[in-house]
């Protein structure tokens, strides 16, 4: 069983996406993939890496490309003694503002060096990845102290961009880790589910009863405490339903069309959502149908997927709701019910 007295398991928010680059960035990253860093001339300055617009006026920056680097000069720096997992180097390194030869604005990048080498004025040079490691991304290179501090050859010269730059997109992967904790109301709800119990809280102001891991009346803006708790029976009425045709996505376990219902539990005024109906085909589910809860057997019962604020309202504690065979309630009684 999940121990709800402690923090939840770390949650990994991960999603891949592909960014389109547009003409300026695709020109820059295509040049980078071939070992050439470029900037763009905007007014009296060469901005590198290039921007699509003049950062000071917002005007179109145009496409007067200029070769910059591969050497440059550090203007400010910091020492990262303990890199994060997202940093480009997994050993102590520096982040620095580096003004590349031929450029007037600095770029932020990583410098692989020792801490005592870092100082404003340090000459550095780009060290490019090669072969399969080249992605046409900003992390295709890191900087290292320049072996020869003399000016870069060709820096400041015009760069002829290909008509159709090769790198048109950038793959990115968002990867964040969260550790949430069980809110008190979630813990109480989890404990109830594990004991095959349902409860609601009655708002002292409007007399409505909300259900689940939700300690507030969202109509009145009132916090509901233990004094407002009311035990509920595991019977209710289907107030709404949808038939879901599953599409494959990470975490989707269903393969055939299935039904998900909102259930108005007898005595409550707020429905419990995302409930499963068992014992009948999806096509026979109706609004107004009376149903009774079927708990997962002790031992199998869990609240592993329960989240705060009523996410995963009955989680792994309930098998589903089984039609009782009693006559339906009038469907029109279930319009305009709280979600």
């Amino acid at each position: 069983m999940t121990d709800t007295s402690i923090d939840m398991e770390p949650f990994h928010l991960q999603f891949p996406f592909t960014r389109t680059l547009g003409s300026t960035l695709s020109t820059f990253f295509s040049a980078l993939a071939e070992g050439q860093i470029i900037g763009v001339r905007i007014g009296d300055r060469v901005v590198a890496p290039p921007m699509e617009y003049d950062p000071e006026t917002g005007a179109d920056a145009g496409s007067e490309w200029v070769k910059v680097g591969p050497k440059g000069t550090v203007s400010t720096w910091t020492w990262v003694s303990e890199p994060t997992r997202l940093h480009p180097l997994q050993e102590p390194f520096a982040f620095a503002f580096i003004t590349l030869d031929g450029a007037d604005t600095p770029m932020i990048h990583a410098v692989k060096a020792t801490e005592d080498q870092l100082a404003a004025g340090l000459r550095v040079e780009a060290q490019f990845k090669s072969g399969d490691e080249v992605n046409g991304r900003i992390d295709d290179l890191v900087f290292v102290p320049a072996s020869d501090p003399s000016p870069s050859e060709g820096a400041g010269e015009p760069y002829e961009a290909p008509a159709e730059p090769e790198v048109q997109t950038m793959d990115a992967y968002c990867d964040l880790v969260y550790v949430d904790n069980f809110a008190p109301a979630t813990r109480e709800w989890a404990d109830a589910l594990m004991n095959a119990r349902l409860f609601g809280r009655r708002c002292p102001k409007c007399n409505r009863m909300v259900i689940g891991a939700n300690p507030m009346c969202s109509v009145d803006g009132v916090l509901l405490g233990d004094g407002e708790v009311v035990e509920l029976q595991g019977t209710g009425v289907v107030s709404n339903f949808t038939i879901v045709t599953p599409t494959p996505y990470p975490g989707q376990k269903e393969t055939e069309p299935f039904v998900r219902c909102s259930i108005m539990i007898d005595g409550a005024d707020a429905v419990i959502g995302q409930q499963e109906i068992i014992g009948i085909p999806a096509s026979e589910v109706r609004v107004g149908m009376r149903v009774a809860i079927e708990w997962a057997p002790e031992g199998e019962r869990n609240v592993d997927d329960l989240g705060n604020g009523n996410h995963g309202a009955t989680a792994g504690a309930v098998r589903g709701w089984r039609p009782t065979g009693e006559p339906d309630e009038p469907a029109e009684n279930y319009v305009e019910r709280m979600m």
């Binding site: 949650f11 928010l13 960014r19 680059l21 901005v47 890496p49 921007m51 950062p55 000071e56 203007s75 400010t76 720096w77 910091t78 990262v80 003694s81 303990e82 890199p83 994060t84 997992r85 997202l86 940093h87 480009p88 982040f95 620095a96 503002f97 604005t105 600095p106 770029m107 932020i108 990048h109 990583a110 801490e115 404003a120 991304r137 900003i138 992390d139 950038m170 990115a172 964040l176 880790v177 969260y178 550790v179 949430d180 904790n181 809110a183 008190p184 109301a185 939700n214 300690p215 507030m216 009346c217 969202s218 109509v219 009145d220 803006g221 009132v222 916090l223 989240g307 705060n308 604020g309």
Partner: protein, 356 residues
């Protein structure tokens, strides 16, 4: 100067406990705070003409937290509501502008941040330029440290100056009942702390804080109806700079702060107290200079962001602290500052005044 129906004042405020980890969700933190601010103004939820909050779902990692947070308002019958993915100080700016339209005479602005769920050194890499900075894992500590180094190299401050800022703020926080962190630390003790990003020390970092704050505004005569000593917002302005710190001409000044301060009318009279949102201690010195404050102004009597830093709330807390100095502390003119984005990218300045 007599107040008119175009003058807008703070008439109520509240804040939640500031905690390293609240066991509550954002909505649960918000409800007592929002309703507390409304109660302080002597109002009921039905009396609020416009409601706006600032928060960011990426902090808690719960999608649509900002929608769930509407439950805290008791939004039935439906209310006029808005949301900014910014500090609550910018929510207050929107509420202020909304009141200027003249359609309603009360508004509520709130900020909420459940920061404890996430790790700032990785989370904020998705806030920076997605092409040039996110793939490098450029984190706020590193970006701040680059600014700090530039400030040192320019000869404008020393590490000892910055350690004095830390020592003063942590000591001031002892007198702030709402502070999460406070301490008696000597400058030498601070200077002996290790760097997390040379020259940035652990003591220069703000704490990680869960919290919420809310402010009720009222317009013209309504403000006098609700509050014995309304805190008038006589000027408020905010400015933003290019998102890439490398495109700013000089990292050691805050041009957006200077312009916002000018726009808010900072120089129209002496400033008794100033509340500055400096996420990293050394930034207080940059902001202070850019605001053009005199040595007579008391800065961050609350301890500032070093006492508590609920991201999405800290700027609004500065406004509340400055308002308290007028409403409860007998001061006449106060300044509140809020910031957002890497290396002080965006800055808001608010001038508050009591009646003579």
């Amino acid at each position: 100067m007599p107040r008119t129906e175009n003058d807008i004042a703070i008439v109520g405020f509240a804040q939640s406990p500031m905690l390293r980890r609240s066991e509550h969700t954002e909505a649960e933190m918000m409800l007592p705070t929002v309703q507390g601010a409304i109660k302080m103004a002597g109002l009921n939820k039905e009396d609020i003409g416009f409601t706006v909050s600032g928060s960011c779902d990426y902090l808690s990692g719960r999608a649509f937290s900002f929608v769930a947070n509407v439950d805290a308002y008791g939004a039935w019958p439906p209310i006029s509501e808005s949301h900014v993915e910014m500090d609550g100080a910018w929510a207050l700016y929107e509420a202020f502008v909304h009141l200027l339209l003249g359609h309603v005479d009360t508004a509520l602005a709130a900020g909420v941040g459940k920061n404890s769920n996430s790790d700032p050194t990785t989370l904020y890499t998705i806030e920076v330029d997605p092409y040039y900075l996110t793939p490098l894992g450029a984190d706020p500590w590193s970006l701040a440290a680059l600014q700090y180094r530039a400030l040192l190299d320019a000869g404008k401050v020393t590490e000892r100056d910055v350690a004095e800022v830390v020592a003063r703020n942590l000591a001031n926080a002892k007198d702030n009942i709402n502070a999460q962190v406070s301490a008696d630390l000597s400058v030498d003790e601070i200077l002996a702390q290790p760097y997390v990003r040379n020259p940035l020390r652990k003591s220069d970092l703000p704490p990680v804080t869960d919290g919420c704050a809310a402010v009720v505004l009222a317009r013209g005569k309504k403000a006098y109806d609700l509050c014995e000593r309304p805190v008038w917002i006589t000027g408020i302005d905010h400015r933003v700079e290019p998102h890439l710190p490398t495109l700013r001409r000089d990292l050691t000044v805050s041009e957006s702060t200077r312009l916002a301060a000018e726009g808010a009318g900072v120089h129209n009279g002496p400033i008794d107290v100033a509340e500055i949102y400096a996420p990293f201690s050394f930034q207080e010195l940059i902001i202070r200079e850019s605001l053009g404050l005199s040595d007579d102004t008391v800065v961050n009597a609350s301890g500032g962001a070093q006492g508590a830093n609920p991201v999405m709330v800290t700027g609004l807390l500065r406004i509340i602290e400055a308002a308290k100095a007028i409403m409860e502390g007998g001061k006449n003119r106060a300044l509140a500052h809020a910031t957002s984005g890497p290396c002080l990218q965006q800055n808001l300045v608010c001038i508050l005044e009591g009646d003579e």
